[in-house]
Amino acid sequence: MTNHWIDLKNSDCIMAIGCNPAENHPISFKWIEAAVDRGAKLISVDPRYTRTASKANIYASIRPGTDIAFLGGLINYALTKDLIHKEYVRDYTNASFIVNEGFNFKEGMFDHWDDREKAYDVKAWTYSADDSGKALRDGTLKHPRCVFQLLKKHYSRYDVDTVVKVTGTNKFDYLRVAETFCGTGQPGKVGTILYAMGITQSTHGVQNVRAVAMLQMLLGNMGIAGGGVNALRGESNVQGSTDYGLLFHTLPGYLPSPEYKDETLETAIARYFPKTKESKSTNWWQNGGKYMVSLLKAWWGENATAENDFCYNYLPRRNGNHSYLQIIKKMIEGKLEGLVCMGMNPAVGGPDSLRAREGLGNLKWLVTADLWETETSIFWKRPGANPKDIRTEVFMLPAAASMEKEGSISNSGRWTQWRYTAVEPLGNAKSDLWILDQFHHHIKNLYKKESGIFPDPIVKLAWNYGTGHEPDVHKVAKEINGYFTRDTEIVDKDKTLEFKKGDQVPSFVQLQDDGSTVSGCWIYSGSYTSKGNMMARRDPNDLPNGLGMYPGWAWSWPVNRRILYNRASVDKTGKPFDPKRPVIAWNASEKKWEGDVPDGGAPPVEDEKGVYPFIMVPEGVGRLFALTMKDGPFPEHYEPIESPMKNPLSKVQSNPCAEVGTNVTCDLNRFPCIGTTYRMTEHWQAGAMTRSLPWLVELVPDMFVEISQALANEKDIRNGDRVTVVTERGSIEGFALVTFRMQPFVVNGVSIEQVGMPWHFGYAGLATGDSANVLTSGAQSPSSSIPEFKAFLCNIFKGGKGA
Amino acid sequence: MTAMQKVVSEIRSFHLFLRILIVLVTAGLFAAIARFAFGLGATTNLNDVYPWGLWISFDVVTSVPLAAGAFVLGAIVHCFNIKKLEPLVRPAIVTGFLGYSLVCLGLLLDLGQPHRGWHVFAYPNLHSPMFEVALCVMSYTTVALLEFLAPVFEKFGFHLPLRFLRTLELPLIVLGAAIATLHQSTIGTFFLIAVDKLHNLWYNPILPLLFWISAVFTGMCIIIIEAVMVHRYLDQPDETDLLATLTRIIPWFLGIYLVLKIFALFYLSERPLFDRPVLTTLFAIEMIAGIIIPFIMFLHKRIRTDGVLQLRAAGLVVMFGLVLNRFNVSMFGMIQENQQIYYPSVIESIVTIGIIAAHILFFAVIARYFPIFEHHSEDANNAIEDGFHSTHEQVVPEKI
């Protein structure tokens, strides 16, 4: 989230597209309702009429996988109806930038496509620059090669009639959405977009999100209270885990994990943290080097010195994609010896799970650290498997649940809240910290004893978390915040600050690249300072602006900023665009900002020392035209890999960069229906945590499949009948739930039925049922490697699998 | 001959009908045991939609007015001093006593916590019709018992308690009548709480009054039926002309009832009235067959004085005027539209049949062994006259 949960109450229009907050983020509805009470409009854009839709002022149905068409249509509507926030677009986005000749778009493809690599040459798309290398601009936005004109041209194809032909949305509903949401373009009006898996789980998921961001920039809704691009994160601490480098291509704090070619620290820093030519751009990433070094110091402590590049070469340097699906693929191919599933249940959660389950059998050993016995940990006795044929040795480590251990948890709004142990772990369950600590000791000792090819990265690890039975979680948190390794003086503008060896760093501003500072995750510096544990704060007082930021409650990264890009909420002189909702405001007399922690302390743009609002990109302004997107600078509609129709917008059927994966098909004779998967309030994810709780099982005891009245009649299915759903990957059984909430889509004049189902079921636990992921395919997005869980082709029959 | 054998041979000597009754009663007994062993849920068709079923509707709501003969006749004979009806009093008292004992049994069967029955007196709730009825039924049963003891003492010739009872007789009758009035009507009050549940055809504020009146004329009809029956089957003298006196009183009550009912229907009831065909039909049967027709019949001297026709008229009143009415109020009229239908389970039915059988059986047995059909005024000396193998010589109490 660029904003945060409570901020939803400040909005005038909330568009929930590809998410179902009423069911999957119930508490968020407290704030959505607060906005609605103020007269805000709630829009739900979803293929199904959900519990969120039931509360919405406007519900627009959409065919799975067509959000770019939907959002592109809104962009076009805003541009043609002239509803955009002009000042904002001109000054705070790259609309005025002139794009070089390298960029072109023809028949669904951008230029510089390499058909062998199945990839674009991204570097070919740049701004035209003057000799100094400064990008050329046209403030009038008239120049035919300026981003604004290119944007207009690109989305001119997305007229309402074309759009609804693609998305199957009722035109009247679509127009209501367009009017209502684009209406937030005028200053003093603000709209927010909530999204989640309906947007991301697609072969063009990242472009979906881009489209959301572009629309918000055009309407001037970024950085504003009640606005923003708000991803409703998933797993309770998934925000934290991504912040800490969960993904294969990032290190903690979204530092890039080096690739094979990044041979030295210096070259890596040079490549990933470029300098900017823009005088007014903060280009915060130019400090990346300091964060990288502080991280290396955190990992290898004393051993990391300037001389040895701070142990940079201890870092694994990747080549290629090492995301979830690639790991599973390796496993299936028998190229993986062992697997540790710590709080993960791939036998249910991953796509094409029949293969994944078989793959687990190719492992020598499997470790699961979990609260429950999961489908993964008992894969060897799953229905249809013969334990005798499975050689894998399985270790189940009982893990302590969140309420059984102390630590921090980060929510979607980037608030890190400290939690205490409420109850002691059951039986001999242990915290993940304890488990990892044990791994560390044993592996370290093994390497010490038996050395091996390259023991140093392990043997030389710094591990200063006390000597107790359990590592001291406060020591961990302090290291993450960072501290000084020696007495240091830092000159900050006019004054010099003195720090002693061992002092906590006040914030990442003080982090250094000379080894004098340590920080485990730079964006979290400031969370545990000499003032103490900021994450444990519980001051219930709001700011005078009454926007619900509660700066004294917990702590949010970065530097306790509650709304990101908040410099974009004020005009060039520092006056809030929306005086009713002043996130920050420049106090000219005292020469300081008031309100939220500003995005960099520099004065407003107009001031000679002033800077642009978007401090994380070299340009300093928001990117309507993206320079580094693998699959194109502008989001373009492509069909899902398994689609019921030809792409009406171009000859290119689906995202050319996408990894299609195996056994997918578009054979409408065998698979005439669209299949989609989703969650429901009553169950959690792969189900381990809820399918064994009788009170929740009582509510939703069985796997079921939602279909429309029409489809039911056609297939002679009655509510409550057993049915079988089939795809190219496999088939599952469930109860049929025939409901008005499912309606066929009329696309290109033909009516296409959809089959919806929760993916929560499996063969372990109290309530068991077939897993929807038996049906889903491994097609994935090129940029995020997320699987296309939301759109595939299937068929449905009356009767169980026997039938 | 051991006592056991005595009993057996005694039973062998019973009329076949009686022996069938014995079987039914034993069946009911076992059913009742089952109910306590396995609980209400398992043995009855009661559920959250039908918390009350056959047992409440028949064993309580219907049985109580059926047992009303005692107090009605008692009042007529002793208070209004219409002596010639006296021969009917004792049989009536016996049925009353039996009726009420069985009502108590029925109530206990229906309670989820029968062992807590006494709580009613420990934690009384004056606002609860149920409390009032419980109280009345208990005390009335005691009264009925005392009244019933008379023939018993006579049989065994306990003269002192007998005299004592005799002196009490009148007060008891009065007390009984008063108490009966209360609970007969309060059973109607039960259903005043069921607003929005009991259909408008039956729901009206004077329901309790109507219950009382119907109890009264039913009481008398029961006596008629009883008398005719015992005349036929227990070869007792024909009382037709005695009964004629009753049949002259009945139409009055029927008439008043009819008037009040119509008045309530048109001035006190909510609308709609005739929206549900089935209920309308039930209502029609109840009113026409159960009230109007008998009313007309009783108006005719010929019918009033003809045993058979008396019986028919009275039968109608009891079967439709009362039984149907009570079921309409406590069961059929409470069924909401498109709601599942309740029907009693086997066990419920067996128990109820058993209770009815027990009633008849005990009456017959008592009639057989106790002096309930001897006619003589209170001052008669029964000690000698009692036909039964009676007590040793006695001091004859001198005449008043």
């Binding site: - | 209400l40 989820g112 807590r116 009384p124 009032e132 009065v174 549940k197």
Partner: protein
């Protein structure tokens, strides 16, 4: 049963169904706080994701789902069924052993130690709330007790506490005012009715809805407090007793007096007759 009591401070639920997302946190929180057994369910029982079908001996509150199509629009509605905690509760008035009590705080609670299991409360409740332990050999009644043990301690009921959006809990007058405020500021959003304001003489659970209450399973209930109906009759009990007893006693005194006089007359005649006989 006096309704003149000041109810303005009775703890009261305001359940705004236009804000209810059907998340059923309330339903689960209720089971957890009251440690109620889970029911064995299969698929769904009713519309939408309904489970269990209704209140029962194991379930004190349910969300009643309605899933229908109306004027070309979907309706997916959720109604939290629970005890209404009537101001003047029928269950309290009919219970022969006063097992039900209307607490001064508002909740209507039930004393398992008193109940004799007559089920009159179930007949009496206009909202059909009390349920019976049909599964037990010695069954008791089961019903939402308004989390009295929490309310006594100044806490919200478990369901109100768990609810993210729809349930306000506070003094009755305060809740009524809030409900009226919402109806006033947002007339388009609501049916212009507060269910529970007058139903059964007023309850401590109030509902607001966007769709007609009858469409989503609410009962149409009389406005007049139910106990007043029975009380209207029970009031006469003492009078009836005395008049009946009294009049009968009087009548019999009259009739027996007549009788006595008649007898004495007869006696005299007999004597006279015999005297005559002596002479001759």
């Amino acid at each position: 049963m006096s309704t003149e009591r000041d109810l303005s401070n009775q703890r009261t639920f305001l359940i705004d169904l236009t804000k209810c997302t059907g998340c059923r946190a309330c339903q689960v929180a209720c089971k957890q706080w009251n440690q109620m057994e889970a029911e064995k369910t299969s698929f769904f029982e009713g519309e939408g994701y309904q489970n269990p079908a209704t209140l029962s001996e194991y379930t004190l509150t349910t969300i009643q789902f309605k899933d229908y199509f109306h004027e070309g629009k979907n309706e997916f509605s959720f109604y939290k069924a629970m005890c209404m905690h009537c101001n003047d509760p029928a269950c309290v008035s009919v219970c022969p052993v006063s097992a039900f009590i209307k607490t001064p705080e508002g909740p209507v609670i039930y004393d398992t130690k008193r109940c004799i299991g007559c089920r009159f409360c179930m007949i009496a409740c206009p909202f059909g709330i009390p349920r019976y332990q049909w599964s037990k050999a010695l069954p008791l009644v089961v019903k939402c007790n308004g989390c009295y043990s929490r309310v006594k301690e100044g806490l919200k009921p478990a369901c109100a506490k768990a609810c993210p959006t729809a349930i306000e809990y506070g003094g009755r007058q305060e809740m009524i005012d809030e409900a009226k405020r919402r109806l006033a500021v947002n007339p388009g959003r609501y049916m212009n009715r507060i269910y529970g304001l007058e139903e059964a003489g007023g309850t401590s659970v109030l509902y607001l809805s966007a769709v007609p209450f009858d469409d989503i399973g609410f009962r149409n209930v009389t406005r007049r407090p139910l106990p007043s109906r029975t009380w209207a009759a029970l009031r006469f009990v003492p009078t009836a007793f005395i008049t009946m007893g009294g009049s009968l006693a009087f009548i019999s005194w009259l009739t027996h007096r007549k009788e006595k006089i008649r007898r004495e007359k007869e006696m005299k005649e007999v004597e006279r007759a015999s005297q005559k006989g002596d002479r001759s």
